[in-house]
């Protein structure tokens, strides 16, 4: 019995020792294969992409590969240096460098490089064969952005064509907008009551689209007030906006044939501090009790304070902005609201300028394209066709 025990013991001991030494005895993982290097597409050069087929031991329990190292050399036999590492399971590496010569990491374009990929296991590794040479070069055109280019071209063609049509005198139809239809009535009411009209251009600077749209509407409103001889007050937040507003109103009075009626002091600068400006305008509303308030342009947190004061003062209020978070306050507290793009449309509708009308038409056609693609796309997607979706895919 003793003998058997000792034999068994030595057997297990051997087994145990064997087991202990087993992991150290592992062989190298099998190397990655089919390594390919090529210039990274759609860039300015200075980068090469390397792809390979995963090692056969990738994801296996035994000899598990933990990462791949990518090595580069300028000759197939030369010294290879490590350029980067990717985790297990990945088979692509973009070897990117700096484009400035003095940079440590400078990556010359138009120079041949050779790559190999090293599959790393816990302690060992194996290397792939050396790739065929590849060199980096810059592309003149980014192929993934064709859709965007098409979009830009189509839109520009629409815009130029419609501007041209409008200039030739073709009537371009734009549907009436409730807020704008109310303008005449509102001015008439002010005249009857013998009270002024308050026109607020918002807090935007002169180059913002909402402000530009508001200038156009101001010009029409001012012309009407000149005809009715109703005073118009324009308190301003921005010095440049004030200068442009003065010019706009003066021109409108001239056009209406009443330049004598234009009062420059009615278009004035208040302050460019948000809440101080609101306090100033509120004061005007409570003192002058204007019959009609216009809030058209860029508005921020002050929108609800203005709209509330005007509503309590009993004025008719017409508002419009493209600042989405402020529109709810305008809808709830003013009589007419131009929502987002409607503000731009209103300026084209009133201004009747070929450029504005033309680009508004282009926007409409753009929307038509969007709407049609939406319907067709959603139907196609429902039946499992991916074709439409790929049309709008922008590669980056």
């Amino acid at each position: 019995m003793k003998k058997i025990k000792s034999i068994l013991f030595s057997f297990f001991l051997l087994l145990f020792l064997f087991n202990l030494s087993f992991p150290q005895e592992s062989s190298d993982p099998r190397p990655p294969t089919e390594i390919k290097a090529f210039d990274t597409p759609n860039d300015n050069g200075h980068a090469i992409t390397v792809i390979w087929k995963l090692s056969a031991d990738d994801g296996k329990v035994k000899n598990n590969v933990v990462a791949y190292e990518i090595l580069r050399s300028d000759s197939p036999e030369g010294e290879f240096e490590i350029r980067g590492m990717v985790p297990v399971g990945e088979n692509l590496f973009e070897d990117k460098g700096a484009k400035e010569k003095k940079d440590k990491n400078y990556f010359p374009s138009h120079k041949n490089f050779y790559y190999k990929v090293r599959a790393k296991a816990d302690k060992t590794f194996s290397e792939s064969e050396v790739s065929k040479p590849a060199f980096a070069y810059g592309q003149w055109y980014h192929t993934g952005k064709t859709t965007v280019l098409a979009g830009v071209i189509v839109f520009s063609v629409f815009a130029l064509a419609f501007i041209n049509l409008a200039k030739k005198g073709k009537e371009l139809y734009i549907r009436p907008l409730a807020g704008i239809e109310a303008v005449d009535e509102a001015i008439g009411r002010a005249t009857e009551m013998g009270k002024p009209i308050l026109y607020i251009l918002g807090l935007g600077s002169a180059e913002m689209i909402a402000t530009i749209a508001s200038f156009t509407i101001l010009s029409r409103v001012a012309k009407k007030t000149a005809e009715y001889q109703t005073p118009i007050l324009v308190p301003c937040y921005d010095a440049v906006v004030m200068a442009v507003a003065q010019e706009t109103v003066r021109a409108a009075y001239l056009e209406a044939g009443r330049p004598d009626f234009y009062k420059e002091e009615n278009i004035f600068f208040v302050t460019s501090m948000q809440f101080a400006y609101v306090a100033g305008v509120n004061g005007i509303m409570l003192r002058e009790k204007p019959a009609t308030n216009f809030y058209l342009g860029k508005f921020y947190a002050e929108s609800l304070i203005l709209a509330e004061t005007g509503s309590v003062a009993g004025s008719i209020q017409i508002s419009g902005t493209d600042e989405i978070a402020q529109i709810p306050f305008f809808i709830a507290a003013t009589d007419y609201t131009l929502i987002g793009e409607e503000l731009y449309a209103a300026s084209a509708y009133l201004g009747k300028e070929p450029v504005l009308l033309g680009t508004l038409k282009a926007q409409d056609w753009g929307k038509a394209v969007v709407i049609i693609s939406l319907i067709l796309g959603a139907l196609a997607a429902s039946f499992g066709f991916q074709f439409f979706l790929n049309l709008f895919r922008v590669q980056l």
């Binding site: 990117k96 700096a98 921020y300 978070a325 980056l396």
Partner: protein
């Protein structure tokens, strides 16, 4: 009906008083409330949680003290999350006050013994590159080179000499971008430039005012968005570190109830008095 007329003409200051009470009284309560974590917040949390240790996270602080009550709690719990997961943090700001708010948040987070024990080093584990003027154009130029966009950090060290920044040239070397935003420039600009021009991965915390506007970007262009103080509270809950935002939730709830009450009463009085005027 005189009652309603008088109700409509009530002094605003009485309304103001109601608001003060509705907001302040609940602050004294210590009740723990049930706060549900919305899928949107979970998406952001998971995106951060799944980053391997050592990943580089860029945080853009695009807000000022005016919105700090909503965004500061988000900054705190985000920093805590990043540091406890050993992520490397790069801070910038498109609003000048942003990087200062970041410093205030860092100071708070480092008071936490768990984070303090990690002995994080400036320049190695986190950097603050400060503010740069130029709004969204800053993002565009970071896409080609962060070192020329931010030549120096907020204390004037050369960016290229900071160890952490040595391995970061542009968005290619950043694993996740987190944007705390209170308006323009903010999340929309990060989507347009960092995501749609440079393929970055983006999550965001927004003031409640602008959070709804970000929904169309989710999930294709934006991982998710934390909306307002409530979003911050949800993040604290999911990270199992309830803090300031959670403690304010009762006040938040009561104040909403008061607003709804005002709208109902106001409309009731308005329609009753208007109906009377029409019939008379």
């Amino acid at each position: 009906m005189k009652f309603f007329d008088r109700l409509l003409a009530i002094d605003r200051r009485i309304i103001f008083l109601f608001v003060i009470i509705a907001v302040t009284l609940p602050l004294f309560s210590k009740a723990t409330l049930h706060i549900e974590v919305s899928p949107m917040v979970k998406a952001v949390y998971d995106a951060v949680d799944n980053l391997p240790p050592g990943s580089k996270v860029l945080v853009s602080f695009d807000y000022d003290p005016a919105s700090a009550p909503e965004l500061q709690p988000m900054a705190l719990s985000f920093f805590r999350h990043c540091f406890s997961k050993d992520l490397k943090v790069v801070i910038i700001g498109l609003w000048p006050q942003g990087p200062v708010q970041a410093n205030i948040a860092l100071e708070d987070v480092f008071r936490d013994p768990e984070i303090k024990a990690k002995n994080l080093k400036y320049g190695v584990d986190y950097v603050n590159l400060g503010y740069m003027a130029g709004n969204e154009v800053v993002i565009q130029s970071m896409g080609s080179n962060i070192h020329t966009t931010f030549p120096a950090d907020y204390t004037g060290n050369r960016t290229s000499e900071l160890p952490l920044m040595k391995g970061i040239k542009n968005f290619d070397n950043i694993d996740f971008i987190y944007n705390l935003s209170a308006g323009y420039p903010g999340t929309m600009e990060w989507v347009q430039f960092a995501v749609d021009r440079f393929q970055a991965k983006l999550g965001a915390g927004n003031t409640a005012v602008q959070a709804p506007g970000m929904y169309p970007y989710i999930p294709e262009q934006l991982v998710g968005v934390l909306g307002g103080m409530k979003g911050g509270a949800e993040y604290e809950i999911i990270a199992k570190r309830p803090a300031r935002a959670v403690s304010y939730m009762l006040s938040q709830g009561v104040s909403h109830a008061v607003i709804i009450f005002f709208i109902i009463i106001g409309n009731l009085a308005f329609f009753v008095t208007r109906g009377k005027k029409k019939t008379s």
